[in-house]
Symmetry: C2
Subunit: 152 residues, 2 copies
Amino acid sequence: MSQKGVGVDLETSLGYLLKEASSALRAAMEEVLRPLGMSVTHYSCLELLAQRPGLSNSELARGAFVTRQTMSVLLQALERDGYVTRPAEAPVGKALPARLTPRGRRSLEKASAAVRSVEARMLADLTGAEQSDAFRILQRMIRSLRDDDGGA
Amino acid sequence: MSQKGVGVDLETSLGYLLKEASSALRAAMEEVLRPLGMSVTHYSCLELLAQRPGLSNSELARGAFVTRQTMSVLLQALERDGYVTRPAEAPVGKALPARLTPRGRRSLEKASAAVRSVEARMLADLTGAEQSDAFRILQRMIRSLRDDDGGA
DNA sequence: TGACTCATGTCAGCATTCTGACATAGCTTG
DNA sequence: CAAGCTATGTCAGAATGCTGACATGAGTCA
């Protein structure tokens, strides 16, 4: 099954497997969030705000792995629909700290439970040690990818 | 740092870390492919065809984790630009087996080398054993996510 | 103080991908 | 053989996310 030195062997490529896992996770999340009328990005934004209240639009964008333009559009919708509030004026600089409203918190609760169940299912066949290994290894991968960004 | 039982703790969530790793990998790939005038999906399609010649549009879509509509658009462009050929008539059923042209193969060579270097950088700090662990664990995660799709 | 750099929010335009729908080909089953 | 099921390719429309560009606020430094 090994390749003749040509190309990336998809059967044994960790990069391909990573993409596959991420794709499967996203699909599973979309499936449980759809009945709640929520997209993955939508959920990510609320979850970030629940854990780190006062995050700005740009910070939320980085946390959800989208551009700040994309997050800006989403945030405006969330604010319009009453899930999130932002002050009219920036307390410092231009950054507007966003916070969940009670309605946003309520909406997040159901979604968060659904997402937790998906994550639990994903980890069902793994021992605690394996989960720790995975955590450590993934962190190492991320750091290596970012460290010499285009340096070398 | 642990949460009060509320929500998914992003600091310790393997799901979040998986998304982060996948996002970092994608960004790194885009960075090296951009100078070659190639997108990640573009590259994925060519790489799939190099390793499994004769794949149909739908099969390529599944392999690249996009819908067949998306792959169809891409494939038409690749065919128009001379990277890929497909017979005018389906030899069986409706599926048109696609193949790389010499031009497609040449174009893929550079891209594949670039992507290999990214993957190597990602794995630079990992031992062989760790890579095997990661492979096994990721496969387990994928299977768990797919097995009871919405069953439970 | 003034110039420079950096991060932020926002607008406009574009690219990519998806969902929904339809017709067709092959297989299975009664 | 006919009906039903599944997979495939394709078209149309819409949603989503991105790039490019601009102005503003804050910190740095000469």
